[in-house]
């Protein structure tokens, strides 16, 4: 499993340098931070104060366009656009007295299109209420927004709760992938050890498990930092956080078990057997139980998993190399630890 040669190590380091540089330096798409007021009525003139993020409204202010978009695709274009500052703009919408068919209170999306920045989108920005007595259908006001400006090519999407923390995707998530690969490698070596014995496979299993725990702790910490910014606390007793902590406890117990057995052969066997057992309980712990209850974390409790919606093409260009890079780094670290264990044993035998 621990391949000889330098190429994969160099590849891992290059990928990680690329991931850190690109992940930290690539700007976000323009976004809408704040809109006030957040509700309106049919038949009135709605004045919106919009604060943007990563926007330059003062440049080419005259060609700024904005729409309120209904779920069915039709949209109402802003009748007046008044740029207040580089980040603030005042939009005027004349809401028709008869809104399209739908519920009495309809959430609509706000679109702000800028020629050089690109399009900023805020879903469920405004709640519009249908007042009584609106009968005349103003069919002429609806249009389909088109000719969106592209904006800079290499950007990450803007999400309102995530904002800049979206970059954590290249650290938190790939660290978990790396941990799973490392634990899997540890299981393979444990099986090998049980089948044929030999000190090397046992030492490799130990090295992979230790590196896996390190990656797990880092994944948990990066997750906690992310949770502080999105959920409001480092630890919110979310099922996914708890189960992860339990999973790490299981693997810490692996080392306690090994320490409690004196005979080296028996230590290897018991450790390998427990390692296989622990890995198999990891699957229900991390992938089955959290899906059964409510969770704040994506991928469980009705929240969508990481899918096409969350990961756009630019993010994929960084995310997949990040998985490969972190995994390669983990395997390199494990191979170093294995060599250390091997050397230590040789020294102990010698002295």
């Amino acid at each position: 499993m621990i391949a000889k040669g330098r190429l994969w190590k160099i590849a891992g380091v290059i990928l990680l340098i690329y991931v850190i540089l690109a992940g930290m330096l690539v700007p976000l798409k323009p976004g809408i931070e704040e809109v006030s007021p957040s509700s309106g009525k049919s038949g009135e003139m709605l004045h919106l104060e919009v604060t943007g993020y990563n926007v330059h409204f003062l440049q080419e202010a005259s060609s700024l366009r904005a729409w309120l978009k209904w779920p069915d695709g039709r949209a109402l274009r802003a009748s007046g656009v008044q740029v207040l500052s580089d980040r603030q703009v005042r939009l005027d919408f004349s809401i028709p007295s008869q809104l399209p068919e739908g519920p009495e209170v309809q959430a609509v999306t706000l679109l702000v299109d800028h020629p050089s920045d690109g399009t900023a989108v805020l879903p469920t920005a405004i709640f519009l209420t249908q007042e009584e007595g609106g009968e005349n259908l103003d069919t002429g006001v609806w249009e389909k927004p088109a000719n969106f400006s592209k904006g800079p090519f290499f950007t990450f999407p803007y999400r309102n709760i995530l904002a800049e923390t979206v970059r954590n995707t290249y650290f938190h998530v790939p660290l978990w992938f790396g941990m799973m690969f490392l634990f899997l490698a540890a299981v393979i070596h444990s099986v090998r050890h049980l089948r044929s014995g030999g000190r090397h496979s046992d030492q490799k299993a130990v090295a992979y498990t230790l590196t896996g725990i390190l990656f797990g702790v880092l994944g948990l910490l990066t997750g906690a930092v992310w949770a502080k910014h999105t959920w409001g606390a480092y630890w919110s007793w979310d099922i996914k956080q708890n189960m992860t902590a339990v999973a790490l406890l299981i693997y810490v117990a692996y080392f306690i078990l090994r320490a409690s057995v004196d005979d080296p052969d028996r230590k290897g066997r018991v450790g390998a057997a427990y390692g296989i057992f622990a890995f198999s309980t990891l699957i229900p712990l991390l992938y089955v139980i959290p899906r059964l209850t409510d969770s704040l974390h994506p991928g469980s409790g009705g929240n969508p998993a990481f899918g096409s919606q969350d990961l756009d093409h630019t993010m994929r260009l960084v995310f997949y190399p990040a998985i490969i890079g972190w995994t390669l780094l983990g395997f390199w670290m494990a191979s170093l630890w294995y060599r250390y264990l091997n050397l230590r044993e040789k020294v102990e035998d010698f002295s």
Binding site: I256, R269, A273, F277, T281, L292
Partner: protein, 264 residues
């Protein structure tokens, strides 16, 4: 049952233990090695079952004869429950549910930690030459499962005796206790075989097993909340299926890994 209880009453315990051990070994050898046709699946299954049955009977005999272990764990249950009610006086159903499973968990650890204390040193060597390790594990799990089921019912009974009974569906609750005893006995028996050789096996067993049984205990608490009428959820079948799947997974792994451990 009657025959060995009279045996217990009639003679010196040491003599009986070694005597019955030997006679059982003979029966076991007949069952296990005396197979006339090896490639005869139904007969072979019967032999396996018979061998496990003999080992199971041996477990019961030894346990009933020593008696102290059973009495000890029963006293442990009673005093724990007494302490719980001294502290809480009145217990809300949701708290009752949690307390029941905490007591059950600690009773399991204390009852099952000594599953392999007898299999040490010379006797381990003797068994190793004589027995099929899968039979040993299955017999131990079977015995521990019954023990835990009885202890679970005892805990429930004492909860009713000291306080009241918030259980709305006794049938479902007994079923949950049964599933719990199956799962706990599988995990604790297998891990006890690992920790039996260490010095602080009780601490080590708790450290190793608590994180491993957490998925089970979460599901058990959720299903038993149904039995207490705390949850009105229609997805109970799914929870039971996941619990059974986890137990089967653990049991299968224990059966694969135990013979390898037994060798060392």
């Amino acid at each position: 049952m009657a025959s060995f209880i009279t045996q217990v009453g009639s003679g010196g315990e040491d003599w009986l233990e070694t005597g019955s051990e030997n006679s059982h070994s003979k029966l076991y050898l007949q069952a296990y090695h005396g197979m006339p046709h090896k490639g005869d699946p139904p007969r072979r299954n019967m032999k396996d079952l018979y061998a496990i049955g003999l080992l199971l009977r041996k477990e019961f005999l030894l346990e009933l004869r020593t008696g102290a272990a059973i009495a000890g764990i029963t006293l442990y249950v009673v005093s724990t429950l007494f302490v719980v009610y001294e502290m809480f006086v009145r217990i809300q159903p949701s708290v009752w549910n949690t307390l029941f499973w905490i007591v059950f968990l600690f009773v399991s650890v204390n009852a099952l930690v000594k599953s392999f204390v007898r299999e040490k040193g010379d006797r381990a060597l003797y068994y190793y030459h004589l027995l099929n390790p899968s039979h040993v594990l299955l017999a131990k799990i079977g015995y521990n499962m019954l023990l835990m089921f009885v202890l679970g019912l005892l805990i429930w009974g004492l909860f009713i005796f000291f306080g009241d009974n918030p259980v709305r569906e006794p049938g479902l609750f007994s079923g949950v206790i049964f599933l719990g005893s199956v799962g706990f006995s599988v995990v604790f028996t297998f891990l006890a075989s690992m920790t039996a050789l260490g010095n602080q096996s009780a601490t080590l067993l708790a450290v190793l097993s608590f994180p491993l049984v957490i998925p089970m205990i979460l599901l058990l608490v959720k299903i038993s909340a149904h039995a207490l009428g705390l949850l009105r959820d229609t997805a109970i079948g799914g929870d039971i299926a996941v619990l059974v799947a986890i137990e089967l997974l653990c049991g299968g792994l224990a059966l694969i890994l135990f013979p390898i451990l037994w060798k060392s």
